[in-house]
């Protein structure tokens, strides 16, 4: 392609990557955006627009039942929220659930992935199918299953574990903050460990077999091979799995709604936003909580990407 054209005045070009644009690549650019544009536009429309709208509405003192008294109050909603104990409790509960579930899932998921790698090829499909089931079950259904199992009336846990000190027929798991959080975390862990283990499985597959073999020849024990060879070589996969699951765990809502409805200090940030907006119709306050939740997610992302050097471009496979 020797025919080169100067870019039109309005069009910006990147000097380092494409100093000269051929007609063909110009057409390719146009086609690329024509094909991908609609999907891109829809994604922006369903996320960027609502969050901007939420930010705008968060600056108003506005209750849906009282539309006459809608007034612009700058950041007073944020002040109200950030000086209220409810917000900090919700944030604390959310962080607790996130840290506990993600930590347990990482260990458990790694174990599952190892078993899947080592399992005989004859039983591997069975394990793979089994592991996918929790992933595919609706979160609300899983939450109900665990709630009913621990419930005072319909549960079997109190009967089965009555030999454990402190557990009896009248142990009310959802009556206290810590015991309720324990059941909530259990349900979350059951449901989402398969996802993390699949990501780790893909990471395990990328560890070169040669390295394992070399370590084995050099006399490294199983544990040494795991900690010195396998894990360092799949650090990227582990970090991506951690990031995805942390963000997902931070949004926890379904299990809380089903199991405790936020009672006994088990309210999370998502649930707080829901309660302000949908139940109390406090659009201004609810929007402010939503914006704060969004900021938390951005901060978690930034910490992972800057702090732990998670390379997401390798994740998207766009190289």
């Amino acid at each position: 392609m020797s025919t080169t054209t100067l870019p039109p005045a309005g069009e910006k070009t990147k000097p380092k990557s494409a100093p000269q644009i051929s007609d063909r690549s110009k057409a390719e650019r146009k086609l690329g955006w024509m094909l991908a544009g609609p999907a891109f536009a829809v994604m922006l429309l369903v996320t960027a627009y609502p969050i901007l709208q939420a930010f705008y509405e968060s600056l108003f003192d506005f209750r849906l039942t009282d539309p006459e008294n809608r007034s612009f109050t700058w950041f007073s909603n944020y002040y109200v929220i950030l000086t209220d104990q409810i917000w900090w409790t919700a944030l604390g509960v959310t962080l607790f659930i996130t840290v506990v579930t993600v930590a347990v899932e990482l260990v458990l998921g790694f174990g599952l992935a190892l078993v899947m790698v080592k399992a005989l090829s004859s039983i591997r499909p069975v394990i793979r199918a089994a592991i996918l089931i929790p992933y595919a079950v609706i979160t609300v259904v899983s939450a109900f299953a665990w709630q009913f199992a621990f419930s005072l009336t319909s549960g079997f846990v109190n009967t089965w574990f009555s030999w454990v000190p402190g557990i009896g027929a009248d142990t009310d798991w959802f009556g206290g903050q810590w015991s309720a959080l324990f059941v909530i975390c259990l349900a979350e862990i059951w449901k989402t460990t398969p996802f993390i283990s699949l990501l780790l499985l893909a990471g395990l597959a990328q560890v070169p077999e040669v390295l394992q073999e070399a370590a084995r020849v050099d006399g490294a024990s199983w544990w040494q091979r795991l900690t010195k060879v396998t894990i360092p070589n799949m650090k990227a996969a582990i970090m991506v799995a951690l990031l995805f699951r942390s963000l997902d765990a931070f949004r926890v809502f379904d299990s809380i709604f089903v199991m405790t409805n936020g009672a006994n200090n088990t309210e999370t940030v998502s649930f707080l936003a829901y309660r302000q907006t949908i139940s109390r119709l406090e659009i201004g306050l609810g929007s402010a909580v939503s914006v704060l939740l969004f900021l938390c997610v951005v901060i978690i992302c930034a910490v992972f990407i800057k702090g732990f050097k998670v390379d997401l471009s390798s994740t998207t496979g766009d190289k």
Binding site: W33, I51, E57, A136, V137, V140, V141, S154, D254, I278
Partner: protein
């Protein structure tokens, strides 16, 4: 591998299967308990009873459950179809064309995928009320695209990258027309990826609870998870536990069947889209 080691891994496998199926077995068992049997404190029912299924399919709870089932299927299928259709074009462009902005599109998809859903609900709740989309099918289909579209773009781009596109030219060299080359060579290669993507997107939208509970108020659009969440409040029976369990089993079975049939593809789709070295 020594015999002992082998047995150990088999034991691990059995543990995984028990782990995965235990809560499912529990909810099935619970759904087969008669109301008087619900609080027997045991895992299994004393006598198997179909009462709960009658309740949700033909009995008093059927006007809550059946419309929800219809809404869920309709809304989720439409949202999945739109997402996969849009994502096909986007993924084709990402996999085959060279244009600036590829990275931007994939990063946007990632950002949308991790976006806190509740932050979208708050403004939509107010807006939908104003423009009349509250409690309608389109009022859920549009936000569901934020769930189905990003994962579709990712998974499909990963699948499309693996397609040997040279075969298209090869077919044309052998005398096929452009359309024939596309129809006979590319479509069969791309179809499994498209299908897998559709299943994964379907799972994610089928699982939604936040939109369902926030943006609907009647059985005009309320999907199953939201209906389940409201069972306790809306029905007049003494204990909704049995009905909820039976409904949970009914909505879980199709998904479990899909998983069993397409497990290999689903695993490939999930991991391709997420971790690609």
């Amino acid at each position: 591998m020594s015999r002992r080691e082998k047995n150990l891994w088999i034991l691990g496998g059995i543990a995984i299967v028990v782990y995965a199926l235990f809560p499912i077995a529990w909810i099935v068992s619970l759904s087969l308990k008669a109301p008087s049997d619900l609080s027997n404190g045991q895992f299994l029912p004393t006598n198997v009873s179909w009462e709960n299924y009658e309740l949700i399919l033909t009995g008093g709870a059927s006007d809550l459950f059946l419309p929800a089932l219809r809404n869920s299927f309709g809304i989720v299928l439409i949202a999945t179809a739109i997402a996969v259709f849009l994502a096909m074009f986007a993924a084709y462009a990402i996999a085959r064309l060279d244009f600036p902005g590829k990275k931007l599109i994939l990063s946007t998809a990632l950002a949308v995928a991790i976006f806190p859903v509740i932050s979208i609900v708050t403004p939509l709740f107010n807006l939908w009320r104003q423009i009349g989309l509250y409690d309608t099918w389109p009022g859920l289909i549009i936000p569901y695209l934020s769930l189905t579209l990003p994962i579709s773009i990712w998974t499909l781009s990963a699948f499309f990258r693996e397609i040997p596109w040279e075969m298209e030219q090869a077919a044309q060299v052998d005398g096929a027309t452009t359309w024939q080359a596309f129809r006979k060579v590319i479509v069969p290669l791309a179809a499994p990826g498209v299908f897998t993507t559709a299943i994964i997107a379907f799972f994610i939208a089928w699982n939604d609870f936040v939109y369902g509970i926030s943006l609907t108020s009647t059985d005009a659009a309320r999907p199953v998870p939201a209906a389940l969440g409201l069972f306790s409040g809306a029905s007049q029976f003494e204990s909704p536990t049995g009905g909820i369990s039976a409904a949970a089993v009914v909505v879980t079975i199709p998904v479990v069947i899909l998983v069993l049939l397409f497990q290999r593809r689903i695993v490939a789709g999930l991991t391709n889209g997420a971790v690609k070295g």
